[in-house]
C-alpha cells in the first residue's frame, strides 16, 4: 500500500540564518533516515515545503474564488514536508515513522500517515465500469486508484 506521510511542525523554522552545526547534524540524520528508506525499498518520493509565508490559499465558496496570501494567522501546525512510501501495511509505516529523527524540528512535531485510496477500497462502492471510466482531470494525479 502507498501512504503519504506529512511532517508537521508547531513552531516556525528560521531558515534565514545560516544553519548551526547542530542543525547540519540534524539534516544529516534526516538524510540517513531517507537513505534507510531507500535501501529498504520503501521510499517513493519526498519533498520539503517552504513555510506558509510563501504560501497562498484559494478559498472556494459557490462560484467565488478568494485568494489569501500567507502567512495564515490561525495556523497552529505547519506541514513542512511530505514523503510517499510503499509499505505492506500501516504497522510497517508506523514502525518506520517512529524511527524518523526529529532533531531538526523546533519544539513538538508530528507525522501524519495517510493511506492512499486503492482500487480495492473503491471497488466496494463503485462498479468496475465506473472504475474504468476516466474521471475528468485525473491526469497527473499521484497514483490514485
Amino acid at each position: 500500500m502507498r501512504v503519504m506521510v506529512f511532517t508537521k511542525a508547531t513552531e516556525d523554522m528560521d531558515m534565514s540564518a545560516p544553519p548551526t552545526p547542530e542543525q547540519l547534524e540534524a539534516f544529516a540524520a534526516m538524510d540517513r533516515f531517507t537513505e534507510e528508506l531507500v535501501k529498504a525499498g520503501v521510499f517513493i518520493a519526498a519533498a520539503g515545503l517552504k513555510n506558509d509565508a510563501q504560501a497562498k490559499r484559494v478559498v472556494f465558496e459557490g462560484s467565488s474564488r478568494t485568494v489569501i496570501d500567507g502567512p495564515f494567522a490561525e495556523t497552529r501546525e505547519l506541514v513542512v514536508g511530505f514523503s510517499i512510501w510503499e509499505v505492506k501495511d500501516m504497522d510497517e509505516a508506523l514502525a518506520w515513522a517512529k524511527r524518523a529523527p526529529n532533531d531538526a524540528m523546533p519544539g513538538k512535531s508530528e507525522m501524519e500517515i495517510r493511506p492512499f485510496y486503492e482500487a480495492a477500497d473503491l471497488a466496494e462502492f463503485m462498479t468496475p465500469e465506473e472504475l474504468a471510466a476516466p474521471r475528468e482531470g485525473e491526469r497527473g494525479k499521484l497514483g490514485v486508484a
Partner: protein, 435 residues
C-alpha cells in the same frame, strides 16, 4: 521509544529487519534454515522484552545481538556433544573428527563480527539468486527469505500448491548448503557476472504478477509490488558508480514504467487494452517519473543506446511510450532504433517481430513487410497469431486488402483468445468493406 509496545508494532519492526538479520546470520552459520530459526528465536525474545522496555533505538542491532547469543549457545552445546564423540573416536584408529576446531573457528568469526548491518541483504539476495538454482527455485527462495512472504502466499502467487513451493524452497536451501555458498556479496568481475541471474529473477517475479491482468486474487498484482521493492532495494544497495549498476537501474526503470500502466491496461470487462489504445490519464505519473529518473541514471552510467544492456534498452523502449502524452506522439523512429539494438543484445523472434512493427510505424508498411519476410521461417513464430496479425496490418495499410484479409483470417484461426479472435474477424470484415 516508550514501553507498552504491542505485538503488532514489534512484528512490524521485525519484518523490517528480518531479511538483513537472516542475511547476517546465514553468513555466520552457512545455513538459511539455521538463520531463519535464530531470527525467529530473536523475535520471541523481543516479544517478551519490548512490551516492557520499548523498542530499542537500533532494533536491527538488538535482534542481531540476541540471535548471535543464541547461536553461540547452540554452538557451545554442539561443541560439548562433539567433544564426547571425539573422546570416543580417539580410541578408534585413523578417525579424525576435527569438529570442535570448526566450531571454534565459527565462534571466533562470530565474536569478531560487529553489529554493523552492511550488505548482508545484498549477500542474501545474490545467494538466493545463485545460478546453480533454477530460476523458479531462485524466485521462490528470494520471495521467502528476502521478501518475507509465507510459503502459502508464494504458492498462491505462482498458482502452485503449497507443497510444491515448500519442496522447491527446501531443495534450493539444500543445494546452497551442498555447494558451500558463503552468502558474501560477490565483488568486481564476479559481481557483474552474477548480476544477470539476480535481475532475471526479479523480472520473472514482476512478470508473474504483470501477466495476471485480471485477478480476483490480489496476491498476483502484489507480486509486481514485491518485484519493484526488490528492484528498489537492489538499486539502493549497489555501488552508484559501478558500470553494472546501469542494468539494475534499467530493470528498475522498466518495472516502474510498466507498473505505471497497470490501472489502464484492463477494461471494465477484464480484457487487456493494448498500449496504444490505453487511456493515458489513468497511467501512474509518479511511477513514470521514477522510471524516467532511473533510466536517466542508467544512461549516465554508460548505458547509452550503443552499449546498453537488455534492461536499459527495454526501459528506453517503455520510456518512449511513457513520454508520449497521446499515442500519436510516439517517437516510432527511436523505438525502431532501440529494437535494432535490442535484437543484437538479446536476440529473439519476438523481438524481431516487434522490431518489424516498430519499423512499419516509423517508416511505413513496406519497411515492416520487408523485415517480416526475414523472420517468416522462424520456428518459434510458427502458429504464432501475432505474426499473421502484424502482416495483415501492414498489408492493409499498404492497400493490399485481399492479402490482408487472408492473413487476418489465419491469425483468427490461430489465436486461442476469444477477444483477440473477435478483433481479428472484425479486421477481416473491414477488408471486405474497403473493397
Amino acid at each position: 521509544m516508550t514501553p507498552g509496545e504491542t505485538h503488532q508494532t514489534i512484528e512490524a519492526t521485525f519484518r523490517i529487519e528480518r531479511a538483513r538479520l537472516i542475511g547476517g546470520l546465514a553468513r555466520m552459520m552457512r545455513s538459511v534454515d539455521l538463520a531463519e530459526e535464530l531470527a525467529q528465536d530473536a523475535l520471541v525474545v523481543a516479544l517478551s522484552e519490548w512490551p516492557r522496555t520499548g523498542v530499542p533505538d537500533n532494533p536491527g542491532a538488538w535482534l542481531m545481538a540476541t540471535a548471535k547469543r543464541r547461536a553461540i549457545d547452540a554452538l557451545r552445546h554442539d561443541k560439548m556433544r562433539r567433544r564426547k564423540h571425539e573422546e570416543i573416536a580417539r580410541t578408534l584408529p585413523e578417525t579424525s573428527y576435527g569438529g570442535t576446531q570448526a566450531i571454534e573457528a565459527a565462534m571466533a568469526a562470530m565474536a569478531a563480527m560487529d553489529d554493523d548491518l552492511g550488505d548482508e541483504l545484498l549477500g542474501l539476495l545474490f545467494t538466493a539468486c545463485h545460478p546453480i538454482l533454477s530460476p523458479d527455485a531462485r524466485a521462490a527462495l528470494t520471495l521467502r527469505v528476502v521478501g518475507g512472504l509465507a510459503t502459502d502466499e508464494i504458492a498462491r502467487a505462482f498458482l502452485s500448491s503449497e507443497a510444491t513451493i515448500a519442496q522447491r524452497i527446501v531443495r534450493a536451501k539444500k543445494a546452497i548448503a551442498k555447494a558451500g555458498l558463503t552468502f558474501e556479496v560477490p565483488r568486481g568481475a564476479e559481481r557483474a557476472a552474477r548480476l544477470p541471474s539476480v535481475l532475471e529473477v526479479i523480472y520473472l517475479i514482476f512478470n508473474e504478477g504483470y501477466a495476471a491482468s485480471a485477478g480476483d486474487d490480489l496476491v498476483r498484482p502484489g507480486l509486481c509490488l514485491e518485484a519493484q521493492r526488490l528492484g528498489r532495494i537492489l538499486a539502493g544497495l549497489m555501488p552508484e558508480d559501478a558500470p553494472e549498476t546501469a542494468e539494475v537501474l534499467g530493470l528498475l526503470a522498466l518495472m516502474e514504467i510498466q507498473a505505471s500502466r497497470i490501472r489502464a491496461r484492463t477494461g471494465p470487462d477484464g480484457a487487456v487494452i493494448p498500449l496504444t489504445e490505453q487511456d493515458r490519464a489513468r497511467w501512474d505519473y509518479l511511477l513514470i517519473r521514477r522510471g524516467l529518473d532511473a533510466l536517466a541514471r542508467a544512461e549516465a552510467l554508460g548505458g547509452k543506446v550503443g552499449e546498453a544492456g537488455p534492461y536499459v534498452l527495454q526501459a528506453a523502449l517503455a520510456a518512449c511510450h511513457a513520454r508520449a502524452r497521446q499515442a500519436a506522439d510516439t517517437d516510432w523512429p527511436r523505438i525502431a532504433a532501440l529494437y535494432d539494438r535490442l535484437r543484437v543484445v538479446a536476440p529473439s523472434p519476438v523481438v524481431d517481430l516487434n522490431r518489424a512493427i516498430a519499423h512499419s510505424m516509423a517508416f511505413g508498411p513496406e519497411a515492416g513487410l520487408r523485415l517480416l519476410d526475414e523472420i517468416a521461417d522462424a520456428a518459434a513464430l510458427r502458429n504464432y497469431a501475432p505474426l499473421p496479425a502484424a502482416r495483415g496490418d501492414f498489408l492493409f495499410r499498404a492497400g493490399r486488402l485481399t492479402e490482408a484479409r487472408s492473413e487476418f483470417k489465419a491469425a483468427a484461426t490461430l489465436t486461442r483468445n476469444e477477444r483477440e479472435r473477435a478483433f481479428l474477424l472484425a479486421r477481416v470484415d473491414a477488408c471486405d468493406c474497403e473493397h
